[in-house]
Symmetry: C2
DNA sequence: GGGGATCATGTACATTTGTTCACAACAATG
DNA sequence: CATTGTTGTGAACAAATGTACATGATCCCC
């Protein structure tokens, strides 16, 4: 077990990579890689014994300001990749905290949620993961609700459901036909009874979010004219947090805004300046009652 | 709790010192130091999940070759300071493994044992620590048996005993007088009944060990002429592992070699080329039945 | 027995981390 | 009130670590 020896020499005896390489007769780079592997595989476990969360005060303030049940904040850093990972791991922590064994989790389609799935720890909870809307067509590498449900299910030893329908049907009639399908309806009914919703919150900037980016400019303009300020799991809402019913809304195959709002735990996952307006509305109108965001966004939300 | 936030940002979110410093508005150096503090104070705990020890095969071979009950080997590295610390921490591990609550531990005076005391983990065992010989006069920073016993006692919430006598009396008569003192005798009798002896093994090179370095060259020559190859806790032995009785031996205030040998667990702690001959004899003659050494010394001992 | 992919490896470099030093602020001591 | 030690600080440097890329091995499929 070379890996274990390397890990112990490094973490228990404080030798450098080079020293370990010399005593073991391997290259330094190999030691570096073995150590990375040891951390990834859990051979090396690092525990920080701190009860309080990183931004405890901001989390408390945000919860109070918007009447949220709980808030989690990840650290903002310049390095976007790192910030995204930190954000996702805080999201995973938040979801894990709310998840009970055999829970039913409704999943909104969102790149943020997809990242959370990646970071989700391996804990056998046997939960069920159910998409709240159909899939986008084409390759959207890993952000399709079905893959997403699968990723969560794999990590929790749970079950993943598939909604065999497009997120956006070609016409209102086609959407209605999809919804009439027993398989589709069954899954959506299950999603509606979920304990917990996990969804991203999207803004209305051009090209933002999986739904908007699949629309033309004309349709987007129409949405804005109808008062849309953002979307939750594929459903656009206006400045009061009410659903924007229109041509687009009728083509979406998924739970409606009121059905989403009926789910007890509604965990919103969003960060970034472009999402601020949507986020503010979603929080004020109670669309979500649990929030994961980053510290910059939190500060902006609190700066009122 | 700045410390905790820094630790979590670093270990849970993988930010760099600089990134943490920027988000928290402190200097990078401060972050570096806080992280070091977090590791030292145990706020950050690093566990390596590996059952097998570092040099399991050599340990097994050495135990078999010399009929030892158990052997612990620390990694040898060029950096002497680091090697010493690794050695000491393995020594601490070994002693901790053999220590039962309320045990009586006899302590041989040795810099190696002193280092072990430094590395000994804080575990409340309520053991008693008893010197097997008197103190050296003058300042030998931290290697006096009394300080040594205190250091162990502090970390185990145990009791430290003091032997109010010099290691080396001015004359055989003075030594006898010391031994006649009820306080001294009481402590030595307790030491003789110890469950475990922890002692360094010294060679006979000039200036080596606390005892030899306090002698003149003439006395050392005399010792060699009498056949001494090394010492255990202040008592010199010859190539057969038998006591070297002579002018020096009569002046030492402490347990005799036979009394040391009567202690059930005898943990020898020694490493280095200069100690090889002494170590080999001590092992072959059963002066110790438990051994802590480093990998270079282990290899040399096995190369027969 | 060739391609062609995948994997492991090491070199060279970039980044990150740790350490030494000099200085300043403060507290204890004469 | 000077003085000595103690502590905390950051700048500058030295060391350690991580990464991108190039190379060579190995396997697999045709």
């Amino acid at each position: 077990m070379l890996l274990g020896r390397v890990a112990r020499m490094y973490y228990e005896h404080g030798l450098t990579h080079q020293e370990i390489a010399d005593t073991l007769g391997v290259s330094r780079i190999r030691v570096t890689r073995l150590l990375a592997e040891a951390r990834e595989t859990g051979v090396v476990e690092i525990i920080v014994h701190v009860e309080e969360s990183l931004f405890a005060d901001d989390e408390r303030d945000l919860a109070a300001a918007f009447g949220l049940r709980q808030v989690w904040i990840s650290p903002s850093v310049a390095d976007e990749q790192k910030a995204a990972r930190a954000f996702a791991s805080v999201g995973a922590e938040a979801l894990a905290a709310k998840l009970e064994p055999d829970a039913v989790v409704a999943l909104g389609l969102s790149t943020a949620v997809a990242l959370v799935a990646e970071e989700f720890p391996d804990h056998p909870l046997a939960a069920s993961f159910v998409p709240v809307a159909g899939s986008v067509s084409g390759l959207v590498n890993g952000a399709n609700p079905h893959e997403l449900a699968l990723a969560f299910a794999r990590r929790t030893n749970g079950r993943a459901f598939h909604l065999p329908a497009p997120l956006l049907a070609a016409s209102p009639e086609a959407a209605a036909a999809s919804l009439a399908d027993p398989g589709v309806r069954g899954v959506l009914e299950l999603a509606a009874r979920a304990d917990t919703l996990v969804a991203g919150i999207g803004g209305t900037a051009r090209g933002q979010g999986l739904l908007l980016s699949s629309l033309g400019d004309a349709e987007r303009e129409r949405l804005l004219a109808d008062g849309a300020v953002g979307d939750l799991a594929g459903r656009f809402f206006d400045a009061d947090g009410d659903a924007v019913h229109g041509a687009l809304d009728a083509r979406v195959v998924g739970l409606g805004l009121d059905e989403l709002r009926a789910i007890p735990n509604r965990l919103g996952i969003a960060r970034g300046e472009t999402k601020l307006a949507a986020l503010r509305t979603a929080l004020e109108s109670g669309l979500v009652n649990l929030l994961v965001t980053d510290s910059d966004t939190a500060k902006a939300l609190l700066a009122d």
